[in-house]
């Protein structure tokens, strides 16, 4: 429809519109916000950011402002907790980050969803289902996979040398974990000797697409439960990532709710389109 009236949309913009339609169908409502936040907000929450680099400027009142490096933090900050109620939002925004290996800031397109409220297994499955449907939309006929893991289990077993162990986990570096005397429980999760039943159950919904892979676990400050990452063949980086982030929610003063969400990085799409 949109193509017919020749809006000259770029493929990633079409993908974004398709994703917005999908999330709308699942009862998520569109959330729009300012691109600016006060810098202090990020200084307080820097443990939850994957980047320490923030683009700042001074507003007309002399206040130090930042161009948003992350969407989830802003949504959680601006909405109010409604005990006993579920809130579902999706967004289609720009974020400002220095991508890895880049030497300056870039404006990146991100589309994603946030679920805030009581999370039960039905909700979790719906979010995983949406992640997979998103990958399908983006894949343009290529193969895709979703790695899932449980960040809570790593947080439970990790005792010492956390930074070095987390690095080995994200690098699937089993020999490194052994050198660091990482807890056996962690090594068994990494090698697949121990597969948690909860993840096994999720895998049965899409056995060909879901991999149980603990290298998906990152940032234990942010994530505390199920965590996942989507990959499309031919795209060198993960294109989708998300998980359960009650830790972040509670640090922002929420008392009763849980939260889960994911983001899609549309700028990585180019590889698939060409």
């Amino acid at each position: 429809m949109l193509e017919k009236i020749n809006l000259q949309l770029r493929p990633e913009e079409i993908a974004a519109l398709n994703l917005r339609e999908l999330y709308g169908q699942y009862g998520y409502s569109f959330y729009r916000m300012s691109r600016f936040e006060e810098y202090d907000f990020y200084a307080d929450k820097k443990d939850f950011l994957t980047t320490g680099k923030i683009l700042t400027f001074t507003d007309i009142n002399g206040k130090l402002m930042a161009l948003r490096p992350d969407v989830t933090l802003s949504i959680i900050k601006h909405i109010k907790e409604i005990p006993g109620q579920v809130q579902k939002f999706f967004y289609d925004e720009k974020i400002y980050r220095v991508p890895k290996n880049a030497n300056n800031f870039r404006e990146l397109s991100q589309v994603g969803i946030e679920f805030i409220g009581a999370l039960d297994s039905k909700n979790i499955h719906e979010i995983i289902d949406l992640a997979i449907k998103s990958l399908q939309i983006l894949s343009n006929g290529r193969r895709y996979v979703l790695d899932i893991a449980d960040a809570g289990l790593i947080a439970k077993f990790i005792t010492h040398n956390k930074r070095a162990i987390m690095k080995c986990i994200s690098g699937k570096n089993i020999h490194g974990l052994r050198d660091l005397n990482a807890p056996d429980e962690i090594i068994k999760l990494m090698t697949g000797e121990n597969i948690p039943a909860e993840l096994e159950k999720i895998k049965t919904f899409y056995p060909d697409i879901i991999n149980i892979d603990f290298s998906a676990v990152t940032n234990l400050n942010y994530y505390n439960g199920i965590i996942f990452r989507g990959f499309i063949e031919g795209v060198p980086d993960s294109i989708l990532s998300g998980g359960q982030y009650d830790n972040l929610l509670h640090s922002m003063g929420y008392k009763y709710s849980q939260a889960m969400g994911f983001a899609v990085y549309l700028d990585s799409l180019e590889a698939v389109i060409n």
Binding site: R143, D147, G171, K172, H175, S215, P236, D237, S238
Partner: protein, 204 residues
């Protein structure tokens, strides 16, 4: 098709020999010529020589599905890749070395010459020591001899070069060897073949 990035130089030759022993042969790859890309159509594999520091770049960006890199380079660059195996070859150590008569004055900022500024910075940060990093591209031993730096952070294999220049190791930072790395996304879709390569490389 599996694309493999190998580091030019001594370590690369050693690693390639592991590939050859495992049955992955690339005709002419060790000949002394300027060719950089070698293909084995039967194996559906392609191999190319790149500068050792660039191996993680090719792998991280997916131009190579897998690659072999020294642990020194992985520690220095911290690429976002999978480090799937220790190839148990090219053993050496990252060390701090100084002149034989060097006495560390801890009240001063330590001048450190190195090809590995991140490794040096991380090491001294973990000790709470303030340093002045001097990044060089080789012949590190010269720096303390000529007074450019107090110490060097460098790879030490046998220690012969250090001895010849009246230097000695004062601390070891890390054990090094060649590692097999893989692009995260490529590994998802070529896992069976990559695992088979690793199994064969590590069984020798």
């Amino acid at each position: 098709m599996i694309n493999i990035a190998l580091p030019k130089g001594r370590l690369g030759v050693r690693v390639y020999k592991l590939f050859e022993e495992a049955g992955y042969e690339f005709t002419g790859i060790l000949d002394n010529n300027r060719k950089l890309v070698f293909e084995n159509k039967n194996l559906d594999m392609r191999c190319f020589w790149v500068k050792p520091f660039d191996v993680p770049v090719y792998v991280e960006r997916g131009t190579a599905d897998i690659g072999c890199a020294g642990k020194d380079i992985l520690l220095e660059r911290s690429p976002d890749v999978y480090e799937l195996a220790d190839l148990k070859t090219g053993f050496c150590r990252m060390a701090v070395a100084a002149k034989n008569d060097f006495i560390d004055d801890e009240s001063k900022i330590l001048r450190v010459a190195t090809e590995f500024p991140n490794i040096a910075q991380n090491y001294y940060s973990s000790q709470g020591r303030e340093i002045d990093i001097i990044t060089l591209r080789g012949s590190l031993e010269l720096a303390p001899v000529l007074g450019l730096s107090d110490v060097i952070v460098d790879i030490v294999e046998t220690g012969t070069t250090l001895r010849e220049n009246n230097l000695h190791v004062i601390n070891y930072i890390a054990d090094l060897s060649a590692r097999l790395i893989a692009n995260k996304s490529a590994y998802k879709f070529k896992c069976a073949i990559i695992d088979e390569i690793i199994k064969k490389l590590c069984s020798n």
